[in-house]
């Protein structure tokens, strides 16, 4: 049984469908990137998993059990949500003392996690005066208090400076190295690409792809052709009608999954004059964009 299992999860807020029939698992000892543009349904999925929102249909469980059913949940799941907040008048140390008391963790864990996230010096400062990066570190310290089996981080690099982002990458790799299952959501592929093993890509509340980073996003495996014609609209129509994926790109077109030769043949058959034709290497970011663009599920 996987540490995190999401099966046919749907969530509707009034008339808005935030998540639609979403299913995926994450594995222990691996870092899984949960990727999608803003508004894709990532946070709603994580909140359903953590029992904060009630699914309209489907299940989201830890080892087959709902979050509310876990005994001492902070020893099994540590979570940092995007809007994690603190009482502005409470010090970092006292914030963690409250969490340690609630989760029945030994008081010395507070100092351990403060050191782990590099906040020992700021431990007795009020959280209201913390920078965004320090707040993120404090939130992560709270998630690590119970040394949980599963770590869930929602947009964890928000507000972090480059050394902070590097620290975050090292931290999640270290957690996965210890056999923990780590799920990181992000709308910025570049910020997590270096630290994830697997990716789950969603857009519009629906699953677009799942697998290893290389398998899902492909990198240079998929040909991309940039083409300009005297009549771009006619060429786009001809390419689309022959099954090619076309997107406008400046004063030309981008054809994903097709070689220049294939595009040239279509243009020739349609009697369309080309004024430019070249192959473009496909970056991970571009692949991610293509995967999450409306109507482009793979």
């Amino acid at each position: 049984m996987a540490p995190v299992e999401i099966h046919n999860l749907s969530k509707r807020f009034g008339h808005v469908v935030a998540v639609k029939d979403l299913s995926f698992d994450i594995e222990a000892g691996r870092v899984t990137g949960f990727l999608g543009p803003n508004g894709a349904g990532k946070s709603t999925t994580l909140r359903a998993l953590l029992g904060l929102v009630r699914p309209t249909a489907g299940t989201a469980t830890f080892g087959g059990r709902n979050y509310e059913e876990l005994e001492q949940p902070s020893t099994q799941v540590g979570a940092v949500l995007e809007d994690t907040a603190f009482h502005p008048g409470r010090t970092a140390r006292n914030h963690l003392r409250v969490l340690a008391q609630t989760g029945e963790h030994p008081p010395q864990r507070v100092d351990d996690v403060l050191a782990q996230v590099g906040l020992t010096e700021a431990a007795d400062r009020r959280a209201g005066g913390f920078s965004m990066g320090m707040r993120q570190r404090l939130a992560i310290a709270g998630a690590l208090l119970g040394d949980p089996e599963v770590l869930i981080l929602d947009e964890p690099t928000n507000g972090l400076d480059p050394p902070g982002i590097r620290w975050m990458r090292d931290m999640v790799r270290e957690q996965a190295g210890r056999g923990r299952a780590v799920l990181i959501s992000s709308h910025l592929l570049a910020e997590v690409a270096q630290s994830v093993d697997d990716v789950v890509v969603i857009a519009g509340g629906e699953l677009r792809a799942q697998g290893t980073l290389e398998h899902v996003l492909g990198g240079d495996d998929v040909p991309v052709t940039v083409v300009r014609a005297q009549d771009n609209a006619r060429l786009a129509k001809a390419l689309t009608s022959t099954g090619h994926a076309v997107q406008p790109d400046g004063d030309g077109l981008v054809v994903v999954g097709s070689t220049p030769e294939q595009v040239g043949v279509v243009a020739g058959d349609a009697g369309i004059y080309l004024v430019g034709l070249a192959q473009r290497s496909r970056s991970l970011e571009q692949a991610f964009f293509e995967l999450t663009a409306d109507g482009k599920s793979l």
Binding site: F13, T44, R47, L50, G51, L52, V53, R54, Y67, E68, L70, P73, S74, A79, L81, D83, T84, A85, F86, H87, P88, G89, R90, T91, N94, R97, V98, L99, Q101, T102, G103, E104, G142
Partner: protein
């Protein structure tokens, strides 16, 4: 439950709100007692006894309960709180019990301070003090009222969630609506949660009125528990069913 209760009490102790409210309640209560004793010509034993019940703890602990619970939404800490304690009804129970305990502690500090200062002033002016048995009677009644109001504040805060709306609403209820109701229709007003029932437990009629209009203290306690139960049920249902987004 003990763990959750301990965590909620730790939350209370680790911000300045509780200390500030203790200081305000103590300061205001002492001011009223000292000025009354120094400026009044002569007071009957009943008036003296009633004066020692006139602490401001009830109002302050009520507001503290509202601030403590509604503040979870104001500061957006409710998500973290529910993640740490996923059983939302247990969480609400722990919060209500912790503010009941805080109310009792706050009331103990204020009431004993009032009694000490008041007794010293009476002794210096050569007047008879209030018998010890009467002081003890006042003390337990004050503690009970404060504890019940602390729990009531939490349940109201959990139901309303908007701190400002809850506080302004309670102040209007406390200073305008309930006194008006009690004055106009005492047989209904004596069941009210902020004036009628607490007055019955304190055994001090509002507006120097007739004690016969008050409920029996035991009934007052039951009425207060009924109000707490009502708000707890409504807040619990909202908390349990609602999404935390």
């Amino acid at each position: 439950m003990t763990t959750l209760l301990g965590a909620e009490l730790l939350k209370l102790r680790t911000t300045r709100t509780f200390v500030t409210l203790v200081a305000l309640a103590l300061g205001l209560s002492l001011l009223v007692v000292v000025l009354t004793l120094l400026l009044a010509d002569e007071m009957a034993p009943d008036q003296l006894r009633n004066l020692f019940t006139a602490d401001f703890t009830g109002l302050f602990i009520l507001l503290l309960g509202v601030i403590g619970m509604a503040g979870e939404w104001r500061h957006k800490t409710i998500t973290g709180t529910v993640l740490a304690a996923p059983d939302r009804l247990r969480l609400l129970t722990a919060k209500a019990l912790s503010y009941a305990a805080a109310g009792a502690v706050l009331s103990f500090i204020v009431t004993v301070s009032i009694m000490l200062v008041g007794s010293v002033i009476l002794s210096l002016s050569g007047d008879d003090g209030v018998p010890f048995s009467d002081l003890l009677d006042v003390l337990w009644r004050n503690l009970l009222v404060a504890a019940l109001l602390g729990a009531l504040g939490v349940t109201i805060g959990a139901l309303v969630r908007n701190q400002i709306v809850a506080i302004v609403g309670l102040l209007i209820l406390s200073f305008v609506l309930e006194p008006a109701l009690y004055g106009l229709v005492p047989e209904v007003g004596r069941f009210s949660p902020l004036l009628g029932a607490p007055s019955a437990i304190s055994d001090v009629p509002p507006f120097d009125g007739d004690s016969d209009e008050l409920l029996a203290p035991v009934i007052g306690v039951l009425v207060m528990l009924g109000w707490i139960g009502l708000f707890f049920a409504a807040a619990g249902a909202r908390l349990r069913r609602g999404d935390l987004v």
